[in-house]
């Protein structure tokens, strides 16, 4: 029983970070209908930024988010403005290949700059935990979950209450209609990609104290982000939040009851089932 609770809690905490990754991807997909294969690489850049700030300027990873986030927002906006924008009307496979190419460029540039060594970001609290009735809870994960929650709430507020947020949502719902309504769709796309990158990078920053950093770290997160987004419904922010936590828990509990080797199968089968029976995802609306 305590093992179950233990896995449930750590699953939820990790799921919070997954959710951030998924939300970023879902916003990008929602607004542009582009599957971003470089999403994990954006996360990787966030990790390296955090690592760099920590080792060079001794800025705590959780604090450095305030620098990393806007920086990666600009970077994402730049990518959108100069690369993704040019293929918005191209065939989907060209869009995919472009993001794959961009991802390769990012990870290999980082490799040239930082070598391919694993970087370990060790803070005082990297392996500390609090114990509650025999259940141990990782302190850094707890903090990162709290930050994730705050960011997610702020994001909801932004999307629901601000004009820009509403314009983004309108664009996601129907690009053509949004254009007719006078929304600057190009600008919304730039903001969306910026937001997506910033969120991915934040997720990277949040897990770097407990994880490790290397140039190819992104690929496994890209796949995870796909699963989360589809699970939640592509384009749905709430869906991605739920999807992230669901995947965190599924992995954690699947690892205990199916064995670590099969937990990925559990996740992908779950993914396929959702695709088949609810292609719009758990919370998505549109089918196309």
């Amino acid at each position: 029983m305590s093992i179950f609770v233990q896995s449930l809690i750590s699953g939820i905490l990790i799921g919070g970070v997954y959710a951030l990754i998924g939300i970023g991807l879902t916003i990008i997909f929602g607004v542009m209908r582009v599957i971003n294969f470089a999403h994990g690489d954006l996360l990787m850049l966030g990790m390296y930024a955090t690592y760099f700030l920590f080792t060079q300027f001794h800025i705590d990873p959780f604090v450095s988010i305030v620098i990393t986030m806007p920086l990666m927002f600009l970077y994402g906006a730049f990518l959108q403005r100069f690369f993704i924008n040019r293929v918005l009307d191209a065939l989907p496979q060209n869009q995919i290949l472009l993001t794959i190419g961009l991802g390769l460029i990012m990870s290999n540039t980082v490799m040239l700059a930082f070598t391919s060594d694993y970087k370990i970001l060790s803070t005082r609290y990297s392996s500390s935990s609090v114990s509650l009735h025999g259940i141990s809870i990782s302190l850094p994960l707890l903090v990162s979950f709290a930050i994730t929650t705050v960011i997610t709430i702020a994001l909801y507020w932004f999307l629901l209450k601000t004009d820009t947020g509403q314009a983004i949502r309108a664009t996601a719902q129907d690009r053509e209609a949004a254009r007719l309504m006078g929304i600057n769709v190009k600008r919304m796309s730039i903001i969306a990609f910026g937001l997506g990158s910033a969120l991915a990078a934040t997720a990277g920053a949040l897990i770097s104290p407990t994880y490790y950093i290397f140039p190819q770290v992104g690929s496994s997160f890209t796949l995870k982000a796909f699963v989360i987004t589809v699970l939640g419904g592509m384009g749905s922010v709430i869906g991605a939040t739920l999807g992230g936590i669901l995947i965190g828990v599924a992995e954690s509990i699947g690892g205990v009851y199916f064995g670590s080797g099969w937990k990925e199968v559990v996740v992908f089968v779950l993914f396929l089932l959702v695709l088949l029976f609810r292609p719009s995802g758990l919370l998505g609306k549109s089918r196309t």
């Binding site: 989907p92 496979q93 060209n94 794959i100 190419g101 991802g103 390769l104 490799m111 040239l112 589809v230």
Partner: protein, 362 residues
């Protein structure tokens, strides 16, 4: 937008007599290729050619489903892997020679493809792409965990390859690259031939109609599910053969080398860089990509510069190039992919054709 079917129209409209010339060219080209192993001493070159053939097979196979039928699968590693694994399991654990095992691989792949098709073809667009990735990942993780069947992560290392016999005469014992060269060449030609056949038949028209507009196609008497599955099976079968060929040639497979997303992406890249929906696109893509990545990997540029006397090998520039270009080759590869997508969205073939038409007009 220039049409992917541009070339075809030229073929159709050219008068019967004119067709003899390309046919002659083709025949002499094939004959020349077939003579290569006799004249080329460098097995290094043969190795690169064999890899190119495998890539041509993979790219052309994908092209039938992705290029003609418009179903952008990013999960072809599943078929590549099923072919490779079936052949290798039969070879290493059951001592069944690969030229039989390969057919078992094809059989297994057809079953796999029909199952995957029944799942994935219910979805369209980005959902189809993601589902195809997921299915391939399920295969990878399953191969990793079904240790009794696949030997898991340890992979399968071929220790012995039985010679190919005809009666009692040994045709080849596979100690040289020559048999692999011919197998690759013949299969590559065959897949090109099949692509051409598809393009010039009802199938090809139906595939393209589905690619252009599935609903419109449906209203014109085309059963999309049926024809998508036909395209998938053709595509999967050749991908599977490529997998078998690769596995036996390299002599070792593990889930990471044959089932990974990298393989799927590589397959798609070949077709897109070359130009999809054309017979020759994937062929060009394969030739360019294999040679290019080998040239980058082996730092041919630096060597050429040094050889030409432009850069001194021991000078600072020479050392810098030597040390860094070898690290940067995937970076350069990535940059090239981005450039092609941005500036030649129709692939190399489409780009070349556009230049030709522009010149003709202007």
């Amino acid at each position: 937008m220039p049409s992917p079917s541009f070339i075809r129209r030229k073929w159709i409209t050219s008068a019967g007599g004119k067709r003899v010339i390309p046919l002659l060219l083709l025949a002499s080209g094939v004959a020349l290729l077939a003579l290569i192993p006799l004249s080329v001493q460098s097995t290094y070159a043969l190795h690169i050619m064999i890899l190119t053939f495998v890539s041509i097979i993979m790219g052309s196979a994908w092209n039938i489903l992705g290029g003609y039928t418009g179903q952008y699968s990013v999960g072809h590693a599943a078929y590549f892997g099923v072919g490779a694994y079936t052949t290798m399991i039969l070879l290493q654990f059951r001592h069944i020679a690969p030229w039989y095992g390969m057919w078992a691989g094809v059989g297994a792949t057809i079953v796999t493809a029909l199952i995957i098709g029944s799942i994935c073809f219910r979805l369209r667009g980005p959902y189809f792409v993601l589902a195809s990735i997921a299915v391939a990942e399920i295969f990878r993780v399953t191969a990793l965990n079904l240790k009794d069947l696949t030997n898991g992560a340890e992979g399968i290392l071929v220790t012995e390859l039985p010679p190919l016999k005809f009666g009692d005469t040994v045709i080849t014992d596979f100690t040289t690259k020559v048999p692999f060269f011919y197998t690759g060449l013949i299969t590559a030609l065959f897949v090109i031939f099949v692509t051409r056949g598809v393009q010039h038949s009802k199938l090809g028209y139906y595939f393209q109609a589905i690619r252009e507009d599935q609903d419109a196609a449906h209203s014109l008497g085309i059963n999309p599910a049926l024809y998508k599955n036909i395209a998938l099976v053709i595509s999967a079968v050749f991908t599977s053969v490529a997998g078998s060929l690769y596995a036996v040639y390299v002599g070792f497979i593990d889930p990471g080398t044959v089932f990974s997303l990298d393989v799927s992406v590589q397959i798609v890249t070949i077709a897109i860089i070359g130009g999809i929906g054309t017979i020759l696109g994937p062929v060009i893509g394969a030739i360019v990509l294999v040679t290019l990545s080998e040239a980058l990997r082996s730092n041919a540029l630096t060597n050429a510069l040094i050889h030409a006397g432009l850069v001194n090998a021991d000078s600072r520039v020479g050392v810098f190039l030597k040390e860094n270009l070898s690290h940067a080759h995937i970076l350069i590869y990535g940059i090239l992919v981005v450039i092609v997508i941005l500036f030649m969205p129709q692939g190399l073939l489409g780009f070349a054709r556009r230049i030709v038409t522009r010149k003709r007009k202007g």
